[in-house]
């Protein structure tokens, strides 16, 4: 017999009202504006856009505010929002070689064409909490220095490729698969893995990337290049018969240069892992490139022994909305399930007790068996 139980409506309403109150906090303190969040907590907003898989800084800032700073909750809100919108079109693939660079560093070459541009970075800071953060004191604008007109910054991988020392990009215009449209069937191709990793949880990918460095799927990586900046987004407009730029987005790209491989007929050359993420998200782009390389094990005849090399394990667990949904559902009422387990356990205890009593009463029967 199944008995539906109702209740908790008033409790839920009051809980949500209390949540709204706690979210707002002390009313004597001014509320956060979307501009403040998007402008001053920009890296949190970038993470929400990347893992929410929707580029829209204002919406991501609203989600951060609504979620009280719980970024996974904010990502969930953004993912839910995106399901309500129609998809008009696909962009032509963005060209990171034409990026308007805000930061660009290479750990493989000191003197790269285009140079090392540190940009706004936490690197080389002392990681000491600045007492000035208690106040809203004046902040100097960045220094400016004229740019040489012929300054161009080719990708480091293209420089290596010029010497035949690294595996080249294999250009194609194949239609990529889309995990938001079709169920995933393993094994999958690199395009789908990159899509999953680009929206995957930063913490999960960071840990997996770290595990490859510690020997679980070792790839001996070097950061060929990290670049952050704005790229134009172009869309073919059937109405017009040509492509227009609809705006630009900030992305972070990481080219990880890994262990070289050779085979019969092919001279040894470096292999590569690739990371591309919405916003200013260096850690995530680096982690993504490490995991991308680890997941290419089959391409290089590497044994798949480590978690980071197991594509089904990585792809099925890197999505934090999926993960949080299943983990957090455990706190919802499981009264009936649990009752069934309880009944079973009580039955077992009862059986054992009866058996023990039987044993006591018939010691000889056991000996006879």
């Amino acid at each position: 017999m199944y008995v539906a139980v109702k209740g908790g409506e008033a409790a839920i309403n009051n809980a949500h009202r209390l949540m709204a109150d706690r979210r707002r906090g002390d009313r004597n303190v001014p509320g956060l504006t979307i501009e403040q969040i998007a402008g001053q907590l920009a890296l949190a907003v970038d993470r929400v856009m990347a893992e929410g898989s929707l580029y829209d800084p204002d919406l991501a800032a609203m989600a951060v505010r609504q979620a009280r700073g719980d970024l996974i909750e904010a990502i969930f809100l953004l993912r839910a929002y995106r399901t309500t919108l129609p998809r008009f079109n696909n962009s032509t693939p963005i060209d990171t070689a034409t990026m308007r660079i805000e930061r660009r560093v290479s750990a493989t070459y000191k003197d790269i064409p285009g140079g090392q541009l540190l940009g706004p970075t936490f690197d080389y800071t002392h990681r000491l909490i600045d007492p000035a953060m208690t106040e809203d004191g004046p902040v100097e604008p960045g220094h400016r220095r004229p740019v040489e007109s012929d300054a161009c910054a080719p990708r480091v991988t293209d420089i290596l490729n010029g010497e035949g020392l690294i595996e080249p990009d294999v250009f194609s215009n194949a239609e990529p698969s889309d995990l938001t449209r079709e169920p995933t069937e393993y094994p999958v191709d690199r395009d789908l893995r990159l899509q999953a990793l680009a929206r995957g949880d930063e913490g999960f990918l960071l840990a997996l990337g770290y595990s490859t460095q510690r020997g679980y799927g070792r790839t001996h990586p070097f950061v060929g290049e990290i670049r952050i900046g704005m790229v134009d987004v172009e869309i073919d407009m059937p109405e017009l018969g040509f492509a227009v730029t609809v705006g630009s987005v900030r992305v972070t790209e990481c080219q990880m240069v890994s262990q070289f491989k050779g085979s019969a007929g092919v001279k040894p050359r470096f292999t590569r892992g690739y990371g591309l993420v919405f916003g200013h998200s260096e850690r995530k782009a680096m982690a993504m490139s490490l995991v991308d390389r680890a997941l290419r094990a089959d391409e290089f005849d590497e044994q798949r022994l480590a978690p980071a090399q197991d594509e089904e394990f990585v792809l099925e667990h890197c999505d934090n909305v999926q993960s949080t949904g299943f983990v957090e559902h455990l706190k919802l009422p499981h009264y009936v399930d649990f009752q069934a387990e309880l009944d079973l356990l009580r039955q077992l205890h009862e059986d054992t007790t009866t058996a023990t009593i039987d044993d006591d009463q018939a010691p000889l029967s056991e000996a006879a068996q």
């Binding site: 129609p86 079109n89 032509t92 740019v147 990529p176």
Partner: protein, 151 residues
Amino acid sequence: MSSSIVPTKRKRMLDAFAACDPVLLSERYHALGDLPAAAPVRGPEIGMIMLRGRAGGGGAPFNLGEASVTRASVKLASGEVGHSLILGRNARKAQIVAHLDALAQRSEWAPRIEQDVVQPALAQRDAERKRQAEETEATRVDFFTMVRGED
């Protein structure tokens, strides 16, 4: 179709509008004075586009993630149809861009739109890009070699 003869010019204009700050665009649009009315054909409506990247930067395409966009199409009484598609959720900006796109197809409006809207939009865009580039440039590492030992 007259529009397909000068796609470069039209593209340059639409690119400039898309990159333009909505406040500046609205200001320049209203400064044009009384404009021939445009009837909505489609939208403005909010949707998404799937942004794509390429594996390794130059390899096979993959789906990076979506971005919100707004699109609109309008028609002038004289028949010209204007279109817009811009990143973000700004219905008003999409309407303005579509209206300007339609107007710019008329020879009496094209020069004024070029001068009063496109030029200021490009100037603002270029100034902003220059500032950004110069701030980045100031963080360039200038390596120098330390002389060690004696001669």
